[in-house]
Symmetry: C2
Subunit: 237 residues, 2 copies
């Protein structure tokens, strides 16, 4: 049975990858996003590749890490393109990379190809002390495929299975986490992402086994959670 | 005033980039897609980067060209990543590249950066006799921004302005073509793409000034157009 967890707002923020990945975000928006994220002390800011160096400048010495996305959001670039994108992101200061797996190759049964790509990226990441999360985009997979993809990732030396990009028809569902968790147990961490916009959903996905939550609503989630806790305290008195 | 055009199905097919870019398409689907496209003699098949070499093998000696997408669909990769993605695509046999411009940089007023990126890609493309189309993603732009972006591209040595990726909230609108055409005249060609699924829309966009139509419904469009022409002929008799 799921136990109801009680996290402080600070602990909750330390589970959240605060994210700004819309293609229309301006440089100024990205800068404010990073500055505002510092106040809430999230795990990291997830920003577009072309913005990594600037994000690193802003976040250096704050404890917040910089994450970026590779092969995002469709995942069907060549292995070389993904590797060169990751190399440059790491060179520019990325501490974590969220890579979209080649779902097209997975759907073709080319498991060796999928694993070869991810393993090469994982090797590159770990050589540079960079965390690697792999997006399997559950919205494009059947339940069996979610299980098989998670099994495959057990052999690819990655750190996290990440559920969704947030750019497809749906985001994460509770059943996605239950399925992935049933396969990876404690061997891989899980990042739930895509459509998470409330503290209730954030807590739900953590209770189900997600170690990290990706959301573009990080600040709003923490603010509303603090409001809720204040109201609850008022009621208790 | 727009004149009602009458194109033969063969002429219509020669305006169409038949496209398969969904991230879940398997290798087998991509192969059938290329083989079926040959029967209708489209201008080209637009396929994911990882599939370019195989598409080239299938389409060699057919007259159909291979096109692929660069920085797709969000456009906010680094210049180096886009260049290395384009280099590899061209090496693998791409005859045309559809590049997403850095909309984020454009929104930030970094016009020199946007143009530098596109010009470098255009230089690479033209050195290899490759056609370059640049996607400005009109769905993320105001009318003024569509005009300004089109003006900018006049100085970047590209072949086509392309309207949309098909992965954002909306596809192309008639007003997009009217705006772009008013700026680029005959200096640049126009590719209308995103949400075009009928022969009526295909004809509409051609009448408005589009030189190329990007659609994943190419085969269905030609089939239905042939049906229409047959019915029309029947009525005339």
């Amino acid at each position: 049975m799921i136990s109801l967890i009680t996290l402080s707002p600070e602990e909750l923020a330390k589970k959240i990858d605060n994210t700004l990945l819309k293609p229309s975000a301006s440089y100024g928006e990205l800068e404010s996003f990073c500055r505002n994220s510092i106040k809430f002390n999230f795990v990291c800011c997830v920003v577009p590749p072309w913005f990594v160096r600037r994000a690193k400048d802003i976040l250096r010495k704050t404890g917040l890490k910089v994450a970026t996305v590779i092969g995002f959001p469709l995942g069907y670039q060549s292995i070389n393109t993904k590797l060169s994108e990751a190399k440059e992101a790491i060179f520019n200061g990325a501490d974590e990379i969220d890579v979209v797996a080649n779902i097209s190759a997975f759907k073709s049964g080319k498991y060796d190809y999928v694993c070869e790509e991810i393993s090469k990226l994982a090797e590159l990441a770990h050589k540079n002390n960079v965390v690697i999360k792999v997006i399997i985009e559950t919205s494009l997979l059947s339940q069996d495929e979610i299980i098989d993809f998670s099994k495959l990732l057990l052999n690819c030396n990655v750190d996290y299975v990440k559920t969704n990009t947030g750019f497809m028809e749906r985001g994460v569902r509770p059943s996605d986490i239950i399925l992935i968790k049933s396969v990876v147990g404690n061997k891989l961490k899980i990042k739930a992402a895509g459509g998470i916009r409330t503290w209730q959903d954030t807590l739900l996905y953590i209770m189900l086994g997600a170690d990290r939550i990706g959301t573009s609503s990080g600040i709003n989630i923490i603010k509303k959670y603090m409001e809720y806790l204040r109201r609850k305290q008022g009621i208790n008195i």
